[in-house]
């Protein structure tokens, strides 16, 4: 390899590449693209292996084989041929199974060839930028995840696995100053695409604000029901009919009182592991999603933490995978997966 290793490159396989090489360097100036050449099909396969160009231009009438045969060999080779594009030039007769990405007839002009290749690299550049954006968003997504906690009375960890790179789920938790309380929320912006992901930052901010006001005991936020109700009203104030529905659950554990208070908005269930019981118990929740209709109420519930060893809050993408056999599943994973796993160390007297 040489200093062209990090550049995009083209391989020209033809007896006399001079004219095309000059025209391409001119057309692609500013794109930092290197051009390799090979005179025959056999040499071309060797040069391809050495440099792995992203685009191969091959004359259909090579000295040793047809360009279409060269294409078919390269594309199925073990050297990554499926990852490059092959354009065949000077095509008059069509052969089946060439596996070429594009064919230019003999009558095609040099200008036409240059424009097509410029468009090819421009498209690759746009796709690379898009990939970079996704990568940056994934970093931001990971930065928002809370760190595991391990205190005297409890331990908290998470499970977080987007359906495909970016998740519409979000979660957070934190404890009170005396470590006697644990607060948290988990939400699932409906869908699991880029639309859902872009919504997560706002939902997280509104939930965090509501929970903070609840912890402070502010007038409008006396209960967890109030937290979700205020958030629902805020979203309708902001977006009216364009609100996208979101499922969420907010919770507060009081280790002194041994109680768990929770309020759901279309998160269907959560799970409790009791001491000396083999199976986890599923607790069903029924409430509208946030952003479904203005003015709806959300029911808050409270249960005892006596004999409780573990509590799992999760999005339906996770709960629908739990305790299912293969007959009950359509896909191995069909949605964003996220869960908060709370282990209670001193749950019973």
């Amino acid at each position: 390899m040489n200093n062209t290793q990090n550049k995009e490159s083209i391989l020209l396989v033809m007896k006399e590449p001079g004219l095309i090489e000059t025209a391409l360097y001119e057309a692609l100036s500013g794109m930092e693209i290197h051009i390799f050449t090979a005179a025959t099909g056999v040499d071309g396969l060797s040069v391809y292996k050495d440099h792995l160009p992203c685009l191969v231009l091959v004359d259909n009438k090579l000295q040793d084989m047809m360009g279409m045969s060269f294409s078919a060999i390269l594309k199925d080779s073990m050297d990554g041929g499926t990852h490059c594009s092959v354009y065949i030039l000077g095509v008059n007769d069509f052969l089946q199974n060439s596996k070429a990405d594009f064919m230019f007839p003999s009558s095609a002009s040099m200008d036409m060839l240059c424009i097509q290749i410029k468009d090819y690299f421009d498209h690759r550049h746009v796709m690379a930028l898009h990939s970079d954006e996704i990568e940056r968003a994934k970093v931001r997504q990971n930065e928002r995840l809370p760190a595991p906690m391990d205190e005297d009375q409890f331990k908290v960890d998470i499970i977080y696995s987007p359906f495909n790179e970016l998740s519409g789920d979000g979660l957070d938790y934190w404890c009170g100053t005396d470590k006697e309380n644990l607060y948290g929320f988990l939400f699932d912006c409906t869908g699991h695409d880029i639309v859902s992901f872009t919504q997560t930052a706002e939902i997280r901010a509104l939930l965090k604000r509501g929970c903070k006001y609840f912890k402070m005991g502010m007038e409008q936020y006396k209960t967890l029901s109030d937290v979700l109700k205020c958030m629902n009203d805020d979203l309708f104030d902001l977006y009216q009919e364009d609100v996208i529905p979101t499922a969420a659950v907010v919770f507060a554990l009081d280790f002194k009182q041994k109680s768990l208070t929770y309020c759901s908005a279309a998160i269907p269930n959560f799970f409790i592991q009791y001491k000396d019981e083999m199976q986890m118990k599923e607790v069903i929740m029924e409430n509208y999603p946030i952003g479904y209709e203005p003015g709806v109420e959300f029911d808050e519930k409270k249960i005892s933490l006596e004999n409780v060893e573990k509590v799992i809050f999760s999005s339906d993408g996770f709960s629908e995978l739990l305790f299912e056999n293969s007959n009950g599943l359509v896909k191995a994973k069909h949605d964003d997966v996220s869960a908060i796993v709370i282990q209670i160390k001193q749950s019973c007297p």
């Binding site: 409906t190 509208y288 952003g291 339906d316 069909h334």
Partner: protein, 97 residues
């Protein structure tokens, strides 16, 4: 008319066999747009042969309900996992027949 949406006297009837999720909501929405352009003002989502729905269906149905107004939107045939998913979001009120 389409793979997922049929029209019956001004009503677009959505029916997805098997899993109804993000993979087919794009096609369903495109077919619904065509139905609206052809004058449909009501939507019925028929879950009779649907075995599973994900949250993108909840999102799209909610948006559809707003678009055509609640009185012109309904669902039917939900059972099993689909019915459970609707009930957990209190959306089983969509089921009218």
């Amino acid at each position: 008319m389409g793979r997922y949406v049929k029209i019956d006297k001004g009503t677009a009837i959505v029916a997805v066999d098997g899993g109804y999720d993000l993979c087919n909501t794009v096609s369903v929405n495109a077919e619904l747009e065509t139905a609206f352009q052809q004058g449909c003002t009501k939507v019925v989502v028929d879950f009779t042969n649907t075995t599973f729905i994900d949250s993108s269906v909840i999102r799209d149905c909610t948006k559809l309900r707003r678009k055509v107004k609640p009185e012109n939107f309904s669902a039917k045939g939900a059972k099993g996992k689909v019915l459970s998913a609707l009930k957990s979001a209190k959306l089983d009120a969509w089921l009218r027949s």
